[in-house]
């Protein structure tokens, strides 16, 4: 299990290859990557991501631990960036490995749902006309109910 919180960019392809190469006996690897929306949708210049050092790592480790306790996972990976990100840059990724795809898919969705509403990150959109904190979506909070 690997949880990384970093300001440096990451290469999602390289990370996924390394993750997949390190899982023994798994028949399924599922990954999700979140990227900064922009360019086509407006005048977004950058996304600033603030976090709570210490609590962030604790919360992510807890969420990954919950996923491992619930599904039969060979491994799990969470990488989340903070700081100033450009449009189209990867923000975060999760990857799960399991013997069968059902566990890998379910655990990846669980990780994403909890990460969005329970890990202390806050996004701020920087545009030419000003800056605005991204509001939490009710859908994201409601998504937790299915688990």
């Amino acid at each position: 299990m690997d949880v990384r919180v970093q300001d440096a960019p990451f290469d999602m392809g390289a990370e996924l290859n390394r993750f997949a190469a390190g899982v023994d006996g798994a028949g399924a690897v599922v990954s999700f990557t979140g990227i900064v929306r922009g360019v086509a949708s407006g005048d977004l210049e950058a996304m600033e991501i603030e976090h709570y050092p210490g609590m962030t790592e604790r919360a992510l480790t807890q969420i990954v631990g919950d996923a491992v306790a619930r599904w039969d996972l060979a491994d799990a990976l969470v990488i989340h960036r903070h700081g100033r990100l450009s449009p189209a840059a990867p923000i975060m990724m999760v990857a799960t490995a399991a013997r069968h795809r059902g566990d890998a898919f379910a655990a990846a969705e669980f990780l994403m749902d909890y990460l969005k509403s329970r890990a202390p990150f806050w996004k701020k959109e920087i545009t030419r006309s000003g800056a605005q904190w991204v509001a939490a979506r009710e859908d994201d909070e409601n998504a937790l109910a299915r688990w």
Binding site: H51, G54, H80, K116, A135, A136
Partner: protein
């Protein structure tokens, strides 16, 4: 007690960190006390529905006891991912 503020709470209060002496028994009691510190604090804490709290880096409800808490953090609902 160390207080930490994040995102727009930090911006409204004007700092991300302050240290205070308090006898507040719960998170809600602490907020009531903080609102009297300055107009900026009162403004930042004016809508409790928009605020979440963590005690010693664990997310808690607003009526959570503080007991021997060393660090209390306030922030808006999280928007990671």
């Amino acid at each position: 007690m160390d207080l930490r503020y994040f995102a727009w709470l930090r911006e409204r209060i004007g700092t991300g960190h302050e240290t205070i002496q308090t006898e507040a028994a719960t998170v809600l009691d602490l907020i009531a006390e903080l609102k009297t510190r300055s107009e900026a604090h009162a403004f930042a804490f004016s809508d409790l529905a928009a605020i979440r709290a963590a005690v010693d880096q664990e997310l808690v409800d607003m009526d959570a006891p503080l007991r021997d808490a060393k660090e209390v953090a306030f922030f808006p609902p999280m928007t990671g991912g």
